[in-house]
């Protein structure tokens, strides 16, 4: 069991593992409220015979164990099991885990070809997240909700968010109705006057 200490490394490696074998990779989560512990595991279940040093006086057994060791070594090169684990007791990691959940849901429901933002440098702009996603129709289309839906489901969150970050600073709100959003700034100016 490999406990990964860096979150970004854990995310990168687990997505890589999933893309290598989408059919057998699973993402598991264990939460214990009484201990305040959260453990995440991503594994692909591939078999890897374990190395075991058998101390035996029986020569035949010893011979067999040597053979199995060699076999395991050879197989190990071909069939590599990976199990990535991440444990935490921090609330901030729960938020990061939610983003990872989103990544995995998208990958698993839609297919391994979906491009998802992996680096958390990009995802930091998503911290204001859902508001930006919902309000993005305002930037891209006046009432063109179909277009915005496509954008929402596509993996191009980064460029939308960067352009949208500016819009949000300008408008200061993230609301559902795109028309309302567009009409806000002029009315604010009027009030100030």
């Amino acid at each position: 069991m490999v406990y990964v200490t860096s979150w970004d490394e854990f995310v990168g490696r687990s997505v890589q593992l999933y893309k290598a074998d989408p059919q057998s990779t699973r993402y598991c989560m264990k939460y214990r409220h009484c201990d305040g512990k959260l453990v995440l595991k991503v594994t692909d279940n591939k078999e890897m015979q374990r190395f075991s040093f058998i101390i035996s006086s029986d020569v035949q057994l010893l011979f067999k164990s040597v053979i199995s060791l060699l076999l395991a070594f050879c197989l190990g090169l071909l069939i590599w099991e990976e199990c990535l684990k991440f444990k935490t007791d921090q609330a901030q990691d729960a938020k990061k885990m939610e983003k990872l959940n989103n990544i995995f849901f998208a990958l698993m429901a839609r297919g391994p070809d979906v491009t998802v933002p992996l680096t958390f440098a990009v995802d930091l702009s998503e911290v204001t997240g859902k508001e930006q996603m919902e309000a993005q129709p305002a930037k891209k289309g006046r009432g063109r909700k179909q277009h915005s839906d496509i954008l929402q489901t596509a993996g191009r969150e980064a460029e939308v968010l960067f352009s949208f970050g500016l819009l949000q600073k300008f408008c200061g709100v993230g609301k559902h109705d795109p028309m309302m959003l567009l009409s806000l700034p002029p009315s604010i100016r009027l009030h100030k006057k």
Partner: protein, 122 residues
């Protein structure tokens, strides 16, 4: 119990988290699945039909097992509700203790460099 629709599954998961507050764990596993047996899949592949994949979500508390499948269309809605659920229940995790860390650092500075530096607070 076993296989449920996404909404009842979320309700059951909520009650699972509630029941296991003081004792026990909750395991949630997410995996891609077509929900078909191997023979069916082979048949579909040879027939040229695209095999539709869904996201299989399983949850257990050690005693009870529940599961649900989510397709590409409803996964965003499910993911939003699931995220809300988790946020509500994972309250036992530690908050970032920045203030304490700062105090500790300042305390060390005072102790370590007391002779050379004047402490900020008199």
């Amino acid at each position: 119990m076993g296989l449920l629709q996404p909404d009842p599954f979320l309700n059951e998961l909520t009650s699972m988290f509630e029941r296991n507050r003081d004792k026990g764990s909750v395991w949630v596993t997410v995996k891609r699945s077509s929900m078909k047996s191997k023979s069916q899949k082979n048949k579909m592949a040879t027939a040229g039909e695209p095999v539709e994949y869904r996201c299989l979500i399983r949850a257990t508390d050690g005693k009870k097992k529940i599961s649900t499948t989510v397709g590409a269309k409803d996964h965003q809605r499910f993911q939003a509700s699931y995220a809300t659920l988790l946020k509500a229940h994972m309250a036992a995790l530690k908050k970032r203790e920045r203030k304490d860390k700062k105090k500790g650092v300042d305390g060390d500075r005072k102790d370590g460099a007391g002779s050379t530096k004047k402490p900020k607070r008199v």
